[in-house]
């Protein structure tokens, strides 16, 4: 692991979590959703190179896929995906004017990996 040299400035291209605030007003959902007004959902983006798979919270499968990509470029690269998600609660009004508070699983990206 210590032998791997990382090119300067390349780190920002590796797979990691990026901030993404979802504003319900932008989507027109504010007409139904009472609260929250929006939430920090985040997203995953970045490269999953074979040389870094051990560092990027990678699955064994991502390691194998990255290895295969090196051997055969027709095999797609390993991809950067959410590895830990958390729920949020939403308060909204339905068509019968019932006010509903419920939680929705897997709405916020906490961690990313390959």
């Amino acid at each position: 692991r210590a032998a791997i040299s990382v090119p300067k400035g390349f780190c920002r291209n590796f797979c990691h979590r990026h901030q993404l605030f979802i504003n319900f007003q932008d989507l027109g959902w504010h007409k139904w959703v009472i609260a929250p007004k929006g939430f920090m959902a985040n997203y995953c983006h970045g490269e999953c190179p074979f040389s870094m798979t051990t560092y990027l919270n990678s699955s064994n499968y991502a390691f194998m896929q990255a290895l295969m990509h090196m051997a055969d470029p027709k095999v797609p690269k390993a991809v950067c995906v959410p590895t830990k998600l958390s729920p949020i609660s939403m308060l909204y009004q339905d068509s019968d004017k019932n006010v509903i508070l419920r939680h929705y699983e897997d709405m916020v990206v906490d961690e990313c990996g390959c």
Binding site: P36, Q93, L101, H103
Partner: protein, 234 residues
């Protein structure tokens, strides 16, 4: 560009929220303080990164992953000749229960009667609130409903503030019969001897109650598919 894709987003929203019809884009119903408190606490916990058990409603002390506030869609009775035999008002409270899914486990059903804002001047007259099950609703707006079992009889010091009633037992009966609505008969009576003092007030409290009375049913349900008690406890 957002406006151009709104049709697509609306249908996706329905599917996402688990709704059959598009929500009304009109004005929101009044949201009880407790629901706002819950959502604020959860937002704060999420912002701080604290882990949350969203299948337990700490503010209400019950397990549940879905809270539904059902508005009363009922009607007043005898509005033409009120105040006979101490009767202040009578109302049929009607709640559409179709939003409650059959597979969900009911953990709380709380009826809230809001009699009006609290003030020093509304301390009298003392009232009696009687809540019964409606056995037979009759024809809407034409005939009187047949009143059945008495659920609650409670004295209250005046026509103000909020009253809460636990309807979990009553609602379990209805849900086991798979009925899609709950009809209750509400009667508010003025206690004797005190009614005469009411007349010195600038406005008859029964008239005011007719305008200010607001009822809602808060239902909390738990879907076992989304909440696993053993793993959550661990």
């Amino acid at each position: 560009p957002w406006g151009q894709t709104s049709e697509f987003q609306d249908s996706d929203l329905l599917q996402f929220l688990g709704l059959e019809k598009a929500p009304s884009p009109h004005r929101f119903q009044p949201v009880p303080r407790v629901l706002r408190k819950i959502i604020r606490a959860r937002e704060a916990a999420a912002a701080s990164g604290a882990s949350q058990d969203l299948c337990y409603v700490k503010e209400l002390g019950v397990r549940g992953n879905l809270l539904q506030l059902l508005p009363d869609q009922g009607f007043f009775l005898n509005t033409q000749k009120p105040f006979q035999d101490g009767s202040c008002l009578q109302k049929v409270l009607y709640f559409n229960l179709s939003a409650i899914k059959e597979k969900a486990k009911l953990t709380m059903a709380q009826l809230t009667l809001d009699l009006g804002p609290r003030s020093y001047y509304n301390l009298r007259p003392e009232l009696v609130v009687a809540l019964s099950v409606v056995q037979d609703r009759g024809v809407w707006g034409r005939s009187h409903p047949k009143v059945g079992r008495l659920l609650f009889l409670r004295s209250v010091p005046g026509p103000q503030g909020q009253l809460q009633f636990n309807l979990q037992g009553a609602l379990k009966d209805w849900s086991s019969n798979r009925l899609k609505n709950l009809d209750l008969h509400l009667e508010i009576l003025v206690k004797e001897d005190r009614y005469s003092r009411v007349t010195v007030q600038p406005e008859n409290p029964c008239d005011r109650l007719l305008r200010s009375l607001h009822a809602s049913l808060l239902v909390v349900t738990l879907n076992p598919k989304h909440c696993h008690p053993s793993s959550r406890k661990r």
